[in-house]
């Protein structure tokens, strides 16, 4: 086709982009932004589909089947992690005003200059070939569509040179209008999103054309392929297909976040975190759409064009083959879109990095800087960025021109991704691991990048003939285990997989191990907190900088610095607004620490965090915080935390104490009730004999003439009732003494058989009176026991007396058995009376059990005997209980520990 026409179309397309960007910028100034939505955001992420993939996917599909899909699968998987991970990164970058991946890493590890420089250099080395690849894509497609031979003589005669120049112009106009690199380039984002639509549309048109117009749908296409015996489309190729597949998947997952141009669109240009939610499904959908016709085109191309045409060019060659001129132009523009969008975004991202991490540190440390006039810095920075953009693009152009003949460009895209994947551990580790250190990050990146270079780029250099082939054959210094394609003897993997494996392996190891063993500096600790705890409100407060700077910085200095970088008017506005928001007075000589911190963040947006820190530190040089001070601050906040914890603990203890008191109180109340009941029962028990005594005495007194025998009878009853009364009183007093613990045991050794004999003897008359037989079974009668003889005798007496009372009259039989057990002695008193119901075996030892549980019935005895027995046994460390007997009666058993003297 006509060369001039194509050039005009290309320029017209660029003009259209220009128009889109211009219109969007104008809308933004009118506060009617059209790009602040999830659709544009998701489409701008599609800058990922570059010219390389636009043409190259088909090439890959022809050569290695389904392989091509992997680098789209990775990002799609990563999308699932967008909400936690990407949102965190975006939040950090917004609060910290971070404007590039290099800035992000440098800022995370203590706003470190060195790290910023390293990352920037790695990016340049990794990405410039990638940009060159896009230029090549444009130029190749240009030659295919015009049918002109490719010019390989570099210089003004080469069309690529002009393409480069036009793009430089475009980028400079739209990418560097504002000095604040964190300010969104809405026009640019709109242009990129627009280009995403264009390339998708163009690709779909070719796909539909090939599938449904050239062939008669999928079925016909598959038949044609089958007839030709082409089978490679549906398989993963190679011996190590799966390890290769995995490594590509991994690298592309890293790349979608870390690639400088991806970081630019997904993080720096993000206007609202909510847009991520749309991108999470829309972006994978886009990837699916743009890939859906890759296989049909690859198959159609193989069938129709075969090996005569480079498979990378099928997309464009197919419509040309069928003389579809309009469609060919459209495809060309689609590829042009894919390539330019990547070039534009990547160049802007790189220029920001280079300007902030390489150029500015040099300027800032130069003496001339200090005498520069106000506002000139802003111009200088913008100018520097423009120059850098031009330099980067010319470097890409030069790379393309000089290296292209030697290096296969196809693998460059993957190589670039593998290069930036080296930042993965530092980026993702830094998001969640507080102890990650600068040394770990630096070492990991350098080692990983070094291995990447050695195992992926050096072999390419050998192929190109720059490096002696013996390196590949026998390794450096004839150490075969150092051969770049088989490091440590790991043979049999393709170069890419091998390189990714070893570089990531050593990268991670260095990062983890060195981080674990290094001491964090004050600023590292501080930044770690800011990054890891970004969603934590307390930590956010911490980032406001209270107390971090000692308040000795002059406000005027801060003001002058900001004026210098962002202009007098804007800095004034920003500072007053911030001061009003945070209720800070600006009329003081000494600047509020928060103002200092705010100024640093504003500066970060312009010149990057490391440089901003450097600048602020310059003003407050003598005030630079020492690690001791930061530690003191950290300690202080820890003390507050600990105090808090302490308070919490105390209040828990208090609650516990309150609970205990409540319980104790309830217990006291219960005991009070018991005491009342006890008193009530005791008084009642006292009333009955008192009644008899009073009535009988009064009768005797009032009736002097009553019969002598009757009077005797009455007086005898009075005496008996008095005895009963005094017995009751002494039992109550005894019990009270045992329960209060005032009763001391009067220990003495006694032969236990004697105690039983004494108690039995005292009760024999009663037993005989009731006709109850008492049987002794005492094989161990001679055992001696240490106890309070009187009390234990009382217990035995009580048990036997009870047994006699409950045994049936005249047929009653009581068996008293003494046993020696391992730990002491055991005495059982069994009768053949009615027995004790099972459920009452515990209760009968309660005070006045009978009286209390049958309130309307007259108790037999005082109701205290068993209670007293139980107390006495407990005081001896023994026990009393009711056990089963063979017959019907009750069997009371006491056990005493045998204490030998």
């Amino acid at each position: 086709m006509n060369k001039l026409l194509i050039i005009l179309v290309s320029l017209a397309y660029l003009a259209l982009l220009f128009g889109v960007a211009w219109w969007v910028e104008r809308r933004r100034r009118q506060k009617k932004s059209v790009v602040r939505n999830g659709w544009v955001y998701a489409l701008s992420l599609a800058v990922y589909c570059t010219g390389w993939t636009y043409y190259g996917s088909v090439g890959r599909a022809v050569n290695s089947g389904m392989d091509f899909i992997t680098i789209y699968l990775g990002p799609s998987i990563m999308c699932a992690l967008f909400i936690p991970v990407l949102q965190k990164i975006i939040r950090i970058c917004k609060t910290q005003r971070i404007n590039s991946i290099a800035d992000f890493i440098a800022s995370r590890y203590g706003k470190n200059f060195t790290l910023g420089i390293i990352v920037t250099l790695c990016c340049i080395i990794g990405i410039i070939p990638y940009i060159a690849l896009q230029l090549k894509a444009i130029s190749t497609s240009f030659h295919i569509i015009t049918g002109l031979p490719q010019g390989i003589i570099p210089g003004p005669g080469d069309d690529k040179f002009y393409i480069t120049c036009v793009i430089i112009f475009f980028i400079i106009v739209f990418g560097t209008r504002s000095v604040d690199a964190t300010e969104r380039h809405e026009g640019l984002v709109a242009a990129v999103a627009f280009e995403s639509l264009v390339k998708l549309f163009a690709f779909l048109v070719v796909g539909i054309f090939v599938t449904f117009f050239v062939f008669d749908g999928y079925g016909a296409l598959f038949d044609a392929v089958a007839n030709k015996g082409l089978t490679q489309f549906f398989t993963l190729s190679g011996d190590n297909a799966y390890s290769s597949w995995l490594s590509m998947l991994f690298v592309s997952m890293m790349a979608i976040v870390i690639l400088p141009h991806q970081f630019q669109v997904s993080v720096v240009e993000n206007t609202n975190e909510k847009h991520i939610r749309k991108a999470v499904w829309l972006f994978p959908l886009y990837l699916l759409a743009i890939n859906i016709f890759v296989l049909p085109i690859a198959m159609g191309g193989s069938v129709i064009l075969g090996n005569n045409t480079d498979a990378d060019n099928y997309v464009l060659s197919l419509p040309l083959h069928f003389n579809q001129h309009l469609m060919s132009v459209m495809v060309y523009i689609g590829g042009f879109s894919a390539a330019t969008s990547m070039i534009i975004v990547a160049t802007i991202a790189l220029s920001t990095m280079v300007s902030n991490h390489l150029f500015l540190p040099l300027v800032l440390s130069s003496r001339r800087f200090k005498t520069s006039s106000e506002g000139s810095l802003t111009r200088k920075i913008i100018l520097s960025r423009r120059v850098i953009i031009a330099v980067i693009l010319f470097a890409a152009y030069a790379y393309n021109s000089f290296m292209a003949p030697y290096f296969s460009l196809v693998s460059i895209g993957l190589a670039s991704m593998a290069a930036v994947a080296q930042f993965g551990p530092a980026v993702f580790g830094g998001l969640y691991w507080r102890n990650a250190s600068r040394k770990g990050a630096v070492t990991g990146i350098i080692v990983g990048f070094g291995i990447w270079f050695y195992t992926l780029i050096v072999p390419a250099g050998v192929d190109a003939g720059f490096i002696d082939k013996s390196l590949m054959d026998s390794g450096p210094w004839h150490l075969s285990w150092l051969r770049p394609q088989a490091l440590f003897g790991l043979d049999g993997w393709d170069l890419f997989t091998h390189s990714v494996f070893w570089s990531m392996f050593f990268n991670c190891i260095c990062y983890l191990v060195i981080s674990s063993y290094s001491r964090l500096s004050a600023s590292e600790m501080y930044q770690a907190r800011v990054f890891v705890d970004i969603f934590d409100k307390d930590a956010n407060q911490f980032t406001e900088g209270q107390g971090v700077w000692r308040g000795n910085t002059q406000y005027a200095d801060i003001r002058a610095l900001l004026d210098n970088f962002i202009g007098k008017e804007r800095s004034g506005l920003l500072l007053t607004a911030y001061a009003r928001r945070n209720d800070i007075g600006l009329d003081t000589v000494i600047a509020d620490p928060r103002i200092v911190h705010f100024a640093e963040r504003m500066l970060s947006g312009v010149i990057g965090s490391a440089s901003a820190k450097f600048m602020i530190a310059n003003i407050v040089k003598e005030e630079e915080i020492t690690i001791q001070e930061v530690l003191a601050i950290v300690k202080e906040s820890q003390q507050v935390l600990e105090l808090n914890k302490e308070l919490k603990k105390k209040s828990i203890e208090l609650t516990r104490a309150t609970d205990m008191l409540t319980r104790a109180n309830e217990q006291l109340k219960r005991m009070d009730v018991l005491k009342d009941e006890f008193l009530y029962t005791v008084t009642h028990e006292l009333r009955t004999p008192l009644t008899s005594i009073r009535a009988l005495s009064e009768i005797v007194y009032d009736n002097p003439d009553m019969e002598e025998e009757q009077r005797q009878h009455y007086l005898e009853a009075v005496v008996k009732e008095i005895e009963r009364l005094s017995h009751l009183i002494s039992q109550v007093l005894n019990l009270e003494r045992y329960e209060s613990g005032r009763q001391k045991l009067n220990y003495a050794t006694v032969v236990f058989g004697r105690l039983i004999a004494e108690a039995t003897e005292a009760l024999l008359p009663l037993a005989e009176e009731r006709g109850v037989a008492i049987v002794h079974q005492l094989p161990h009668a001679e055992v001696s026991v240490l106890c309070d003889i009187d009390l234990v005798r009382q217990v035995i007496y009580n048990l036997i007396a009870n047994a006699i009372k409950f045994a049936p009259e005249s047929t009653g039989r009581i068996v008293i058995a003494l046993e020696q057990t391992g730990s002491g002695i055991r005495l059982a008193v069994a009768d053949n009376g009615p027995g004790v119901p099972y459920e009452m075996r515990e209760q009968i030892f309660d005070k006045f059990f009978q009286a209390k549980n049958q309130t309307l019935k007259k108790p037999v005895g005082t109701g205290l005997g068993l209670t007293i027995c139980k107390r006495i046994m407990e005081m001896h460390g023994g026990s009393i209980g009711v056990e089963d007997t063979a017959g019907t009666g009750a069997c009371f058993v006491i056990a005493l520990p045998q204490i030998k003297t």
Binding site: T683, H684, T688, T691, E698, I699, Q854, L856, K857, K858
Partner: protein
């Protein structure tokens, strides 16, 4: 001659009250527990019943309730003599229709004065 039934499970109290009643010219019947008392009331109607409350089988309240619920017996004068001295117990006694509630221990003269008053009215 007025008939009096004395119900108490304590033999000495029974003995003394029986003596007092006889001396004051009443015909006295004694019951040593609730069951005996109920059996007696099956076929006899005394003018007055002296009732202890806490007894092992049937308690005094139940006997009083039975008397007041039985039309043939309802006009019997019921007097409680009890060691239960709580206000609630006394109130329950009067609520059940007792004419008098005497707390143990009691003054014999006082008791008799009141019994005589009740029986002569």
């Amino acid at each position: 001659m007025k008939k009096v039934l004395v119900v108490d499970d304590d033999p000495y109290i029974l003995m003394s009250v029986e003596f007092l009643m006889k001396k004051n010219g009443y015909e006295v019947m004694v019951a040593r527990n609730g069951t005996e008392a109920m059996a007696f009331l099956e076929s006899n109607k005394p003018d007055l019943v002296l009732l202890d409350i806490m007894m092992p089988d049937v308690d005094g309240y139940s006997i009083c309730r039975h008397i007041k619920a039985t039309p043939a017996l309802e006009d019997i004068i019921v007097v409680f003599i009890s060691a239960k001295t709580a206000e609630a117990d006394i109130r329950e006694g009067y609520d059940l229709g007792a004419a008098l509630y005497v707390s143990k221990p009691f003054s014999t003269r006082d008791l008799m004065k009141k019994i005589n008053g009740l029986l002569q009215a």
